[in-house]
Amino acid sequence: MVKQEPDVTTSTAGEFTELPVLPQERLWGFWQFTSVNVGLAIATWAFLIGGTVALFAGVTTAIAATVIGNLVGVVLVAVGTCLPSAKYGIEQYTALRSVLGSNGVRTLIAILVPLTGAGWNAILAIMFGRAVTNVLNAVFDAGFDPNGPVVIGMSLLALLVSWVVLSRGPVSLEWVNKIVAPVLVVMTLVMLGVILANHSWSDLMSAEALAPFGDPRLDFAIALELSFAVAFAWWPITGNLARLTRTQRVSFWPNMIGLFGASVVAGLVGTFAALVIGDADPTAWMVPLGGAVLGVLALLFVAFANVTSIVAQTYSGGLGLIRAGGSVVRRIPWPVFVALLYTPPAIVVFWPATFYDNFFKFVAWVGMAMAPLTAVYLTDFFLLRRGRLVLRGLYEPEGVSRYSFWWGFNPAAILAIAAGSVTYFLLLDPITFESAAIFTYTTASLPALLVTAVVHTVLSVAWVRRAGKGGYGEPVAGNDRTPVEEAVG
């Protein structure tokens, strides 16, 4: 039997997620969804992002760029994913069948989940390894190399522990909201208090960026671009959560408190810490800031928090892969499936310096993928479909559904995403981090968004709609409105 009441701690669990929710199943009011958002935003990666911004920006530039980048990114992501999912009570990957086609969504999940999962899990595992190594160094004066075999071994241990926990079920997901997030909020405030107690505001303002390019405008653009990218990085999950909110207002505004406000605060505390200590790595801050005892406790907690984050995101992504992969993937035993998901990060952690210390390049890759995805969904839903979907069509098979394209793929959306990514690449190369001259004034994400939106609109109107595909030409409002539209539109 279907679960009638979704479990908050495993809201992505089971087949329930693919079904449209009914009003009585919408669990979250304003403050509950705000709490979920703050819990998501205050994670250890917020410190890492703040430290990364400090590589390029001093305090003034970092505050301005962090505020603008997160604001623009979170608004676009929340409008684009939360409003449709809340309106129709569906996961964003279900709604995305109207944009990419049914096989297009499967392909997206099959590419996105393993790649982003491998990247974030490797980062978090290495952070765990660095945290434990720093504890050993602080307690035993061991002098272990931050990129040496101990870090690699501890990173593998983090993945092994995560595999053991997740193989037994998603129990640790509950820890994230109940224990980890509140403690991280306290840790953030304590860090801010310690920094402000030991450094005057003028000291902070005069602190130099750790590794700037030297051109203040380029450094601002880089800090802004990184902030855009981390905000766009929320895109894969926000709509899936918002479907459980009771109104569209409630689905939107809590994002501004959590994903925007809390992320900015935690990120900037990370930036301040990196600037005063002179190291972008959060695991290097705790002992200098808190002293030996508090610092070691904080590091151990960071290590613990990273394991819960690894488990939570692997569980969520894994379920998405199972739904996309169908019966072939379902036949794989769960522990084996989880082990397969942990294999790529287990390989990556053998090069901790290459990956962890180049976190900003990984963030740029994320931006290159997520900015076009954000744009194509926004354009399709709000501009081309005027914010209207026919729910039944999202569940009907290819060829029957009004949202049918060519073999389950919408080439217009795919070409638009590709055009956006290429635009991004031409403006900021995520491999070398070299940028075009115009990048200083445009960033890479904003032109990528614009190009994606224009290409998708032109191709959809001139090609897809004329071919009678995708339901763009079919009336869904006014006198021709279907019962579905009258009910939920």
Partner: protein, 56 residues
């Protein structure tokens, strides 16, 4: 839940949602005032951040 169960449950839910008497507050679009507040807030915040923090 196997495919048949899923299809049955999906049909049940779609029938409820497609019923003209069905009323879900989430189906109501975000009020225009919210959009105006959002736009104004973004303009003010971005403008202030640029004026204060951009290396002019």
């Amino acid at each position: 839940m196997d495919t048949a169960d899923f299809r049955r449950e999906l049909d049940r839910r779609l029938a409820i949602i497609e019923d003209p008497t069905h009323n879900d507050p989430a189906a109501k679009d975000m009020p225009r005032g919210d959009w105006i507040a959002l736009f104004a807030g973004c303009v003010v915040l971005i403008g202030a951040a640029l004026a204060w923090g951009y290396p002019w």
